[in-house]
């Protein structure tokens, strides 16, 4: 049961009092079909301690410049749509509060290492096709429908082995931070590799050899040099760097 504390009228007033704090929001504008160079539009935006970068962008879009291209959906770090570079680092705009940034100027740019569609929107086709390449589903001959047991039982310990990696929302922040992706767009990338581990570590899956063959190639898993930047920016605690190193254990013969 929740405890109820009396709130004084002064506290009430302080809580609802609008903030006088404001920042300058710099938004990257570039349309590859029309523009020759990226320009930054600057807008003064006032904010509360709970205002997210996405809120600020949408305020600008609603009241100052309708033409700003931004992709978003759930506003709660579930859909992975609003990844962008915020003050130099890849973050989810809906998951980043302006007050946390501790800066009077907030610069938003589209994510690196992706093809740019317009302004803050990048194309995910390449990432999704790589994701698809590693076969992100349970591979086995029988199915839960045909099996006599009707369902494949797992102990909580079995689930712990992969649950961390199943939290991936495919926002692309890890690929944007990866130093190998910065130069090699044929690299599978931390997103795809962590997902390969997610399925290999699942004891219901029998597609280990198939997936290991896919990732053990020139632009596969060995393109990771454990810089750890992917794990640093992951907003869901997936820790792709860990998944990749654990995955390598299979190829080096330390894991069976």
């Amino acid at each position: 049961m929740a405890a109820i504390f009396p709130v004084s009228s002064q506290e009430k007033h302080e809580k609802t009092k609008p903030s006088t704090k404001s920042i300058t929001l710099r938004i990257s504008k570039f349309n590859p079909g029309k523009d020759h160079a990226t320009t930054f539009l600057e807008f003064p935006v006032s904010y509360e301690k709970w205002t997210t970068v996405l809120d600020a962008i949408l305020e600008v879009k609603n009241y100052h410049d309708h033409s700003i291209g931004v992709r978003y959906s759930c506003r709660q770090a579930m859909c992975g749509s609003c990844g962008m570079i915020i003050n130099g680092k890849p973050k989810l705009a809906c998951f980043t509060k302006i007050s946390e940034l501790d800066s009077d100027v907030v610069t938003v740019e589209p994510m690196n290492n992706f093809p740019l569609i317009r302004d803050l929107v990048v194309g995910f086709e390449r990432m999704f096709s790589t994701h698809k390449r590693i076969k992100p589903y349970i591979i086995r001959e029988d199915s839960e429908i045909s099996s006599g047991a009707k369902e494949f039982l797992q102990t909580p310990e079995d689930v712990e082995k992969y649950i961390q990696f199943s939290g991936c929302i495919k926002c692309g922040l890890c690929n944007s931070a990866c130093p190998t992706m910065a130069v090699d767009s044929t690299f599978i990338g931390p997103q795809g590799l962590a997902q390969a581990y997610r399925y290999i570590a699942d004891n219901r899956d029998q597609g280990k050899d198939e997936r290991l063959r896919i990732i053990d190639e020139r632009h596969g898993i060995w393109g990771c040099h454990f810089a750890g930047s992917c794990s640093q920016v992951c907003p869901k605690g997936v820790d792709p760097a860990m998944g990749i190193q654990l995955l390598r254990g299979y190829l080096l013969g330390y894991r069976k």
């Binding site: 570039f30 590859p32 079909g33 130099g88 680092k89 589209p110 994510m111 690196n112 290492n113 992706f114 093809p115 740019l116 569609i117 990048v122 194309g123 712990e160 082995k161 992969y162 649950i163 961390q164 990696f165 939290g167 931070a177 130093p179 190998t180 992706m181 910065a182 130069v183 767009s185 570590a201 040099h225 454990f226 810089a227 750890g228 930047s229 794990s231 640093q232 920016v233 992951c234 907003p235 869901k236 605690g237 997936v238 820790d239 760097a241 860990m242 998944g243 190193q245 654990l246 995955l247 390598r248 254990g249 080096l252 330390y254 894991r255």
Partner: protein, 142 residues
């Protein structure tokens, strides 16, 4: 029409923004390339032996200078860092030193970026600095 936002070599080589692990990645590359350049030079340098004592001595005159000693000290540092960090990477890349995968809890501290790993990087840098000092001491008979 789309434009690729690939960061390029500048983004790959930028050691800032992502903490000590990214610095270690950058140092590993630079020291590796530096050591390869030194190694090729060293093979060439020692081949002067075959041309006799005079050729060897004139090669020494080129390399046994203050600049040459500073360069050699840098090579020692690069070698020690590359070895120390390389051993860390070999252990990590075999999947050891992270603990077990587990259900993540907010604020999601990644176990791959744990203190053990960071400490190994700092120790590698520290050992490289010490080895450089020791090397300079040996070269100058201190």
């Amino acid at each position: 029409m789309e434009k690729d936002r690939k960061e390029g070599i500048k983004g790959m080589a930028n050691p800032g923004r992502y903490g000590i692990e990214r610095v270690a990645y950058w140092l590993m590359r630079i020291t590796g390339l530096g050591l390869l350049v030194y190694f090729i030079g060293h093979i060439y340098e020692t081949s002067s032996l075959l041309d006799g004592k005079a050729a060897w001595n004139s090669m020494l005159e080129l390399t046994q200078t203050t600049e040459g000693h500073i360069f050699l000290a840098l090579v020692i540092g690069m070698c020690v860092f590359h070895t120390g960090n390389g051993i860390r990477l070999m252990i990590a890349e075999a999947g050891f030193g992270f603990g077990k995968a587990r259900r993540p809890d907010y604020p999601y501290t990644p176990s791959s970026l744990n203190m053990k790993n960071k400490l190994c990087i700092y120790v590698s840098i520290g050992l490289a600095a010490l080895a450089m000092m020791y090397g300079l001491g040996v070269m100058y008979d201190v």
